[in-house]
């Protein structure tokens, strides 16, 4: 539960880093997105019973919405659907080896 409190802080820092620092280091017009990377990392590595993936999707989307000119909620929807898709693929097709 404690980690859930850090998620918004981490994603906020990632958003600031992306909009103000990494934007100077474009490769072929593409900016590295720590928001997306963190979101993918948390969603891929989270345990089955964890809810961190969904929480991270919500916050990643929220900060994308705040720091862009798009309609509020657009990116939240995209990330939440992305999180559900990752969870679905993991549950249906991925078998982790047991030790």
């Amino acid at each position: 539960m404690k980690s859930f409190l850090f998620i918004p802080l981490i994603f906020y820092s990632a958003a600031l880093l992306q909009t103000s620092f990494l934007v100077h280091f474009q490769v072929l017009g593409i900016v590295l997105s720590p928001l997306v990377l963190l979101f993918l990392l948390i969603n891929v590595l989270e345990r089955k019973e964890s809810f961190a993936g969904m929480i991270s999707a919500w916050w990643a989307g929220f900060f994308m919405d705040v720091f862009s000119g798009s309609v509020m909620g657009f990116w939240v929807l995209v990330f939440v659907l992305g999180s559900l898709a990752i969870r679905f693929v993991k549950e249906q097709y991925v078998r982790l080896p047991s030790i």
């Binding site: 958003a15 600031l16 880093l17 992306q18 909009t19 103000s20 620092f21 990494l22 934007v23 100077h24 280091f25 017009g29 900016v31 997105s33 928001l35 969904m54 919500w58 989307g61 929220f62 994308m64 919405d65 705040v66 720091f67 862009s68 000119g69 798009s70 309609v71 509020m72 909620g73 990116w75 939240v76 929807l77 939440v80 559900l84």
Partner: protein, 265 residues
């Protein structure tokens, strides 16, 4: 029972998304809140990023510096010739204005603003001046070299959002330097823009300068907008079009100037 609904993932997801969509009713104060306390941090990060990027750019481009230097020297000679020609015209213009008793005031009044961040998903910037300093939507921004940057699209208390010339929301009338050709500049997104609706009677060439035109009154006249990179028109099209490169590059400018009023508005 209390926790059973929490297990219903879809209900929770739907509720949370609905909640965020409902924030659209308060999006201006919400964004203003985040920008106001993020501003100083973003400004510091922007400066660090810009400095580091310039350093690495110099490092990676060292092998090409000689040829680029040569090209710049050639450009300088060409510009000097143009300046000499323009100085003659300026003198003539001055005499004509005096003859017509027209006052030569400054073309516009400006307000300096720093860049603090770039929009995540669009060709837009956030600058460090807002409603408190008198900024309004629609005001143009230029660099110190009179290069057009874009226009203010949204103002918050202490910051403003500026759409760049490559933003798909931008379109304005332009003219081609040293010719009578006029056309329409359209942003295409991802740093790209096109020049459209140029009469076929006047030939375009890569390298031609594109300047703002008084038509439409969106921007002051004769600001540098970009340079033609490639002609895109085909025989079937009724007009010529071309791919243009906006002159403004984020990493080159520390400060921008907001034009708060201009004469030909």
């Amino acid at each position: 029972m209390k926790f059973s609904f929490l297990k219903n993932r879809f209900l929770l997801v739907a509720l949370s998304v609905f909640f965020v969509f409902s924030l659209n009713f308060f999006q201006e104060p919400l964004r203003a809140f985040f920008y106001s306390f993020s501003g100083p941090l973003q400004s510091a990060l922007w400066d660090k990023g810009r400095g580091l990027s310039n350093f690495f750019e110099g490092l990676f481009q060292a092998p090409y510096l000689k040829s680029e230097n040569q090209k710049l020297r050639e450009d300088t000679l060409s510009f000097q010739a143009r300046i000499a020609a323009l100085e003659g015209l300026e003198e003539e213009n001055k005499r004509l204005r005096e003859a017509l008793n027209l006052g030569i005031d400054k073309d516009f009044t400006v307000l300096q603003a720093g860049i603090i961040s770039k929009d995540i998903s669009q060709d837009a910037l956030i600058v460090s001046k807002g409603k408190n300093e008198g900024l309004e939507p629609g005001m143009p921004l230029i660099t110190e070299s009179r290069v057009l940057v874009g226009r203010v699209s949204e103002v918050f208390d202490s910051v403003s959002r500026v759409v760049l010339l490559s933003n798909p929301d931008i379109s304005f009338d332009v003219k081609i330097e040293n010719s009578k050709a006029t056309g329409l500049w359209k942003g295409k997104g991802r740093g790209e823009a096109v020049l459209d609706l140029v009469s076929k009677e006047i030939p375009l060439a890569p390298g031609d300068f594109v300047l703002t035109s008084i038509l439409g009154g969106v921007f002051p006249e004769n600001l540098l907008a970009g340079r033609i990179e490639e002609i895109l028109s085909n025989d079937a099209a009724p007009f010529q079009s071309a791919k243009v490169n906006p002159f403004f590059r984020m990493q080159d400018s520390e400060f921008l100037f907001v034009i708060t009023s201009f004469k030909n508005k």
